[in-house]
């Protein structure tokens, strides 16, 4: 777009001319420029300069032949030299001064009028006046001036530059005859704009009339007139009309192609194309700036379709391609710079009757790419034309004097005749020669690359990688043609990756061919051989027609014979038999012993097809030192058999590496260079045939436990050529993308089909069998609270133990760890249910061992202890002390790691693992209950309590003796010895008295599993309290172990619940003998104790019972004195036998309305038939 002149690229701007009074010119021009739309102005300081405006030419002789279609400078003339409006500026002094000045003014005006006569140019008078003497200018003067200049009153502007604001206010009143004018500069712009518009409209109309009347003699004139009308319309900003007439001009021009005979054919076409280019450019600009992208694209399509076939004369065909390329490039630039937004695009097929543009046609990249393509075409044609023109002879100097002529798209020779220059038309031959000479001057390759690069980047950013790759390919070809190999190689490489991935063989073949040449050019033997081998091992392209295509670049057709040729070349170079010839100065490159060649093929290398190495062990695991079979399978897709001199198989354990030599070949020197002692095998032959597996199976031994993995298979071909191939497992082998789609005979890499599917390149070498016993002495269940001692013994049977380590882990069998769910405080011992407390070991014999050697780490669930060196047959033991805080089963894992030899302590550890489940159980269960005084009930409790509360704490009577029974049950499965039991009171001893405080059993009581042991204490509460803390029962016990007496005693504690101590105010006690005899009377008395300070009225009644005869009051009311007791006695004679219910007594306190019926349990008595012969002491019950 830059090659177009400025006036074509920008929209035309109306032109005015200012004459006289140069001091105000800057003010006016700046103002006119700043308005929208702007107006340009030619500033002429005085009236003598008026001749700058070109005078109207005499009307062209209509009969004469037309020299061209459009004058080259017509547009610029109208934009810069022919004003639409001329403003004559006079100062007020000039006209109101003396007559001489007035005469001067008149002369100037006449001259001015004369110079614009013939043209339609509008005249404006500008009267410059000052604020101070604005009234000096008389109306008469102004009128005279107006008459003289023949202008309307509105075209005379009084201009007051120094006092604008006030002028505006005052003058509108004082000067009524120019009231329609605005006196601001703004008014100036309006007037100028209106007049310019009128001018351009009149001019346009004038030309249009000619068109409408068909008043033209040739199509050239038709085109010219249309162009002019359109341009005048553009001056007026009437875009629609402009577009219409540009289209008309374009169509008219198109008709000229076959009909015009005015000029020699070559130049004629060149001219037509140049004009068409300009017209189309104008149309595209208008359409794109109007947002009509779709129309612009459709127009462009039509434009290129119209002219693409008009290639013109064969000797200058390159001019056509250059022209076409420029069309695309300019359109791309227009599309890029116009404000078109992809998101705004709404396909409107309605306005475009033809098929709508495809996606890429909205992207500038598409046009850039095609521009590059045509430029390339031009280049090719130009080179051809140049080569043809050589025999014509060198281009003579006459071409130098050829210049562009006055008409657009025409060239002529400039001849000097004395002082004058004469334009002489050219013949076609001369023109062709000139065009060739011009073409030679320019180097198009860089431009092609720049265009392609733009396109490449745009496509890449819009994720069209394939199209981008195609651009890249074209770019790379261009670099290649420039011998810029490194840039070319870089581009080719990235393109090749895409083709490889998507399996486009023919395209890949072409790219690789170029790459091969690039590496040749860069003298890189390694690259050369890599690309050659890749090419040679490409799959055959399907469809025989395709492969014989000859346009595959430097590689030639993708045929088998070509591949074989490339294969041979590559191996010749690799053997050093032939040199890698490069065109560059640095000369030939040869593979020698100084420059050995080393190729590496990994899992993603494209050379996997060239050499694929699989390694498969036949077993998944092997004992150390035991032999295992490994199969190395090699496959190549190269078209010709390859003979390998030597194969080296490398493992991660370098001792296992071995070499396979070719039995057919004499030993070559490189073997001797290898490390001595390396295992060498000989294979009968090492020949790789196309797509056939070469399988080699060998035995391999490893003494080191762990993973043994085959890493590399290195093939040596010739003295200086090595291919290092990363070994793959058959199980995880996948074909390269190129071969994946081929209908290839599927062969399995290993004879055993199972192994071919599942074989692995790595084997697990096991540890040697441990010859050390690890014994965990188990002694049944552990008991909560005790330190459970577990002996661990390490006994060596066949191995000496060196640097042994014993690891102990405690794991919850139910999972969830040994800690309580509150994991926030993992090491607070309260939360630990089971913990490893201690590890103690008895070092046998050697006590002098340095303590630093001994590692001992203890954590609650983990322990580490080092085992001293043991010789064969020796043993060592330690004791683990584990403590259970809660009953819980745990799993104890003990593992011993040691090395049988002392020389290599870091390697080859042997491990022995043992585990044991230990259950922790509660040893004893302690229970307690209280025995309240029998048949004694409070009639009135000291405090009324809600029912739920009474359930919780038992109530003890104040200052009464209550019995406390502690029972101990053995829950474990071993007999326990109870050593002592005590109750530790928490509060001061004054609150209650407990007897006995502590009791050491004189002889330990053996508590068998399941047995219950009871002990009675008495409690005498002395304080009235609702929550009396009694204390904690401590039971000391130990395991009953007949053998050792060393077991430590454990203490189990049981906290007694709080009790409620109360002082009942009224106490009812029933008294009767523990048993009675049939027919023998006994006393049954009800005693009421009043502990209040008041006299209490008590109602008492007794019900009859069938089993007893009763004497005494059935119902009575009595008064009990404060702090005294009243007894109500009945005499009963039993009539029945057995456990009988005593007559029910009910006692009621009248004052408190509290009644009491003693419980049925407390009112039972057993009646014997007769007095038994046992001596019963009264009061035992």
């Amino acid at each position: 777009m830059e090659e177009y002149p400025e006036e074509l690229r920008t929209p035309p701007v109306a032109l005015t001319c200012l004459v006289g009074c140069p001091e105000v010119h800057p003010l006016i021009t700046a103002h006119l420029h700043s308005q929208q739309p702007p107006i340009n102005a030619i500033a002429l300081p005085d009236f003598s300069k008026i001749s700058v405006i070109p005078p109207k030419k005499p009307s062209r002789d209509a009969s004469g032949p037309l020299a061209g279609i459009i004058k080259r400078d017509w547009l610029s003339k109208h934009r810069t030299r022919i004003p639409a409006v001329v403003a004559a500026i006079f100062s007020s002094r000039d006209i109101s001064g003396d007559p001489a000045q007035w005469l001067q003014v008149c002369t100037h005006l006449d001259n001015l009028k004369a110079s614009i006569r013939g043209r339609n140019t509008k005249l404006v008078l500008l009267l410059l006046t000052n604020w101070d003497n604005k009234d000096d200018t008389s109306e008469e003067c102004i009128l005279a001036l107006r008459k003289r200049a023949e202008v309307d009153s509105k075209n005379l502007i009084i201009f007051v530059p120094d006092h604008e604001e006030e002028l505006k206010q005052s003058l509108s009143r004082q000067v009524p005859f120019i009231v329609s004018l605005s006196f601001k500069v703004f008014g100036l712009w309006t007037v100028f704009g209106e007049l310019a518009n009128t001018y351009y409209r009149d001019e346009g109309r004038r030309v249009r009339t000619r068109l409408e009347k068909k008043n033209y003699t040739s199509i050239e004139l038709n085109v010219r007139y249309c162009f002019k009308v359109a341009l005048y319309a553009e001056f007026r900003r009437d875009w629609l009309e402009a577009l219409k007439f540009y289209e008309d001009a374009y169509h008219a021009l198109r008709e000229m192609v076959g009909t015009s005979t005015r000029m020699p054919p070559i130049q004629r076409l060149v001219e037509i194309k140049a004009v068409a280019e300009q017209l189309h450019f104008k149309m595209s600009t208008l359409l794109l700036h109007g947002g009509k992208v779709l129309e612009a694209i459709t127009w462009f399509r039509q434009h290129t379709a119209n002219y693409r076939k008009l290639v013109g004369s064969p000797e200058v065909i390159f001019l056509h391609w250059e022209w076409l390329s420029r069309q695309y490039m300019v359109f791309a630039q227009l599309l890029e710079t116009s404000s078109f937004n992809d998101a705004l695009y709404v396909p409107s097929t309605a306005s475009v009757p033809e098929e709508k543009p495809t996606e890429w046609e909205f992207y500038p990249a598409y046009y850039y790419q095609l521009a590059a393509t045509y430029l390339k075409e031009k280049n090719t044609c130009l080179e051809f034309a140049l080569s043809m023109s050589v025999d014509v002879g060198p281009i003579d100097g006459s071409a130098e004097s050829v210049v562009a002529s006055a008409y657009l798209g025409q060239y002529s020779r400039l001849l000097e005749h004395g002082d004058a220059f004469i334009m002489q038309p050219l013949t076609d031959e001369e023109y062709a020669r000139y065009a060739l000479a011009e073409g030679k001057r320019f180097q198009d390759s860089f431009e092609i690359i720049a265009l392609l690069k733009k396109s490449f980047e745009a496509y890449s950013s819009s994720k069209a990688e394939r199209t981008a790759a195609y651009c890249g390919l074209q770019m790379a070809r261009e670099y290649f043609s420039l011998n810029d190999f490194s840039n070319a190689k870089q581009m080719f490489d990235s393109v090749a990756n895409l083709y490889r991935r998507e399996g486009w063989l023919l395209s890949l073949w072409e790219v690789l061919g170029y790459l091969r040449e690039c590496s040749k050019g860069m003298s890189s033997a390694k690259d050369f051989i890599e690309y050659s081998l890749e090419m040679a091992s490409l799959p055959e392209t399907t469809g025989s027609v395709e492969s014989f295509a000859n346009d595959c670049g430097p590689a030639g057709p993708a045929t088998l014979s070509e591949r074989e040729k490339i294969h041979k070349e590559a191996f010749e170079v690799s053997r050093g038999d032939s040199e890698l010839n490069s065109d560059e100065q640095n000369g030939a490159f040869k593979v020698k012993s100084d420059y050995p060649l080393y190729l590496e093929i990994d899992l993603i290398s494209p050379l996997r097809a060239t050499l694929l190495a699989l390694a498969a062990f036949h077993q998944p695991m092997v004992k150390p030192g035991a032999p295992s079979l490994i199969t190395i399978s090699l496959r190549s897709q190269l078209p010709i058999n390859v003979e390998i001199d030597q194969l080296e198989v490398q493992f991660n354990q370098s001792e296992c590496n071995f070499i396979i030599t070719n039995g057919q070949k004499p030993q070559i020197g490189s073997v001797s260079n290898l490390q001595l002692g390396r295992r060498v095998e000989t294979a009968p032959d090492l020949v790789l045939a196309t797509n056939k597996w070469l399988r080699l199976t060998y035995e391999i031994k490893s003494d080191l436990s762990g993973k043994l993995e085959c890493i590399y298979v290195i093939a040596r071909i010739g003295p200086n050529f090595t291919i290092c191939c990363r070994a793959e497992s058959p199980a995880s082998m996948n074909d390269s993308p190129l071969w994946k789609f081929e209908n290839l005979l599927e062969t399995i890499p290993i004879k055993d089909p199972g192994l071919a599917l599942s074989g692995q390149k790595a084997i697990q070498v096991e540890e040697p069998d441990p010859q050390v016993d690890l014994i965990l002495g188990s002694s049944g269940h552990a008991l909560v609270g005790e330190s459970f001692i577990l002996p661990v013994t390490v006994a060596s049977k066949g191995h000496a133990v060196q640097s042994g380590e014993l690891k102990i882990n405690l794991v919850d069998t139910r999972g969830g760890g040994l800690l309580s769910p509150r994991e926030e405080e993992p090491f607070s011992s309260d939360n630990l249910h089971v913990e490893l407390v201690d590890m103690s070991c008895d070092t046998p014999g050697d006590q002098s061992e340095a303590p630093s050697d001994k590692i001992q780490k203890i954590q609650p669930s983990f322990g580490l202890i080092s085992v001293p060196s043991l010789d064969v047959g020796e043993s060592w033991s330690c004791k683990l002390k584990i403590k259970w805080n809660r009953p819980k089963p745990i799993m104890l894992y003990v593992s011993l790691g040691y090395s049988p030899q002392s020389d290599e302590p870091s390697l080859q550890k042997v491990h022995v693992h043992k585990n044991l489940q230990i259950e922790g159980k509660t040893a004893v269960a302690i229970n307690h209950w209280y025995m309240l005084p029998f048949r004694q009930d409070p009639l009135l409790p000291s405090k009324l309590k809600s029912v739920s509360e009474t359930d919780q704490a038992p109530s003890l009577a104040l200052n009464e003796k209550t019995m406390l029974i502690i029972s101990v049950k053995n829950c474990s499965e071993v007999p326990l010895r109870l050593l002592s039991m005590s109750i530790e009171t928490e509060e001061k001893s004054s609150t209650c008295t407990i007897r006995p405080q502590q009791e050491e059993f004189r002889e330990a009581i053996v508590n068998m599993p399941g047995e219950e042991f009871k002990k009675v204490f008495t409690i005498f509460p002395k304080v009235n309290s609702t929550k009396l803390k009694i204390g904690t029962v401590s039971l000391r016990w130990e395991r009953e172990q007949p053998h050792s007496n060393t077991t430590a005693s454990q203490v189990t504690k049981h906290r007694l619940a709080d009790v409620n101590v109360e002082l009942p105010l009224l106490v009812v006690s029933l008294e009767c003998p523990p048993h009675a005899f049939l027919g023998s009377p006994f006393l049954y008395s009800v005693k009421i104790l009043n502990q209040t300070e008041m006299l209490q009225e008590i109602k008492c009644s007794i019900s009859d019972s069938q089993s007893f005869v009763l004497s005494g009051p059935h119902s009575d009311t009595m008064l009990v004195l404060p702090r005294s007791a009243q007894v109500l006695a009945y005499m009963l004679v039993p009539l029945g036998l057995g456990s009988l219910q005593l007559p029910r007594v009910s006692v009621t306190s009248v004052r408190y309305s509290a009644g009491l019926q003693p419980s049925t349990v407390s009112s039972l008595v057993f009646v014997y038939p007769a007095k038994p012969h046992i001596d019963l002491k009264p009061g035992d019950a």
């Binding site: 399509r301 290129t304 693409r308 396909p347 098929e355 543009p357 495809t358 996606e359 890429w360 046609e361 095609l370 393509t373 496509y459 994720k463 069209a464 990688e465 394939r466 199209t467 790759a469 195609y470 390919l473 991935r501 998507e502 399996g503 486009w504 063989l505 023919l506 395209s507 072409e510 399907t542 469809g543 027609v545 395709e546 295509a549 000859n550 346009d551 595959c552 993308p737 994946k740 789609f741 081929e742 209908n743």
Partner: protein, 143 residues
């Protein structure tokens, strides 16, 4: 005249590509087919923008390169068919008819029990059918 037809697999790899020109421009045709896959991707990924009807297998004109027109077709198994023609006036209906026949031929070829899905189509029978279809291109609807 049809100059090239192609069957393109899931990884945008050519399963079958055949050109019908005498000239040595098969490589150029390969490039054209390969580049048009970008447009196929674009259409399939943005069906709304390109105005593609859902479940429509015929993708329409992909690329009006200067001398060729490229049409695309996407089967229900996401295999792409590409057609390159030198006719500048091609009716969509003709292209549709062509692709319909071509699809049938393709289905028959891949239904061969000896054909491995995803591999290149080497069936000679298929090639014969394709060349018959190519020859009859544009004849059916004009007659």
């Amino acid at each position: 005249m049809i100059v090239c037809v192609a069957v393109v697999g899931h990884q945008n790899n050519p399963l079958y590509i055949q050109s019908f020109t005498k000239a040595d421009d098969s490589l150029k045709l390969h490039h054209i087919v390969h580049c048009s896959l970008d447009v196929v991707d674009e259409r399939v990924n943005n069906p709304k923008k390109s105005g593609l009807i859902i479940n429509e297998t015929f993708l329409g004109l992909l690329n009006p390169t200067e001398n060729y027109k490229v049409y695309g077709y996407l089967t229900n198994t996401k295999v792409k068919f590409i057609l390159v023609t030198t006719d500048l006036e091609v009716r969509d209906a003709d292209a549709r008819v062509f692709f319909g026949r071509f699809h049938t031929a393709y289905v028959n070829a891949v239904s061969n029990p000896f054909h491995i899905p995803g591999k290149k189509i080497t069936s000679r029978k298929f090639a014969e059918r394709v060349s018959t279809i190519v020859k009859s291109f544009g004849l059916s609807s004009s007659s």
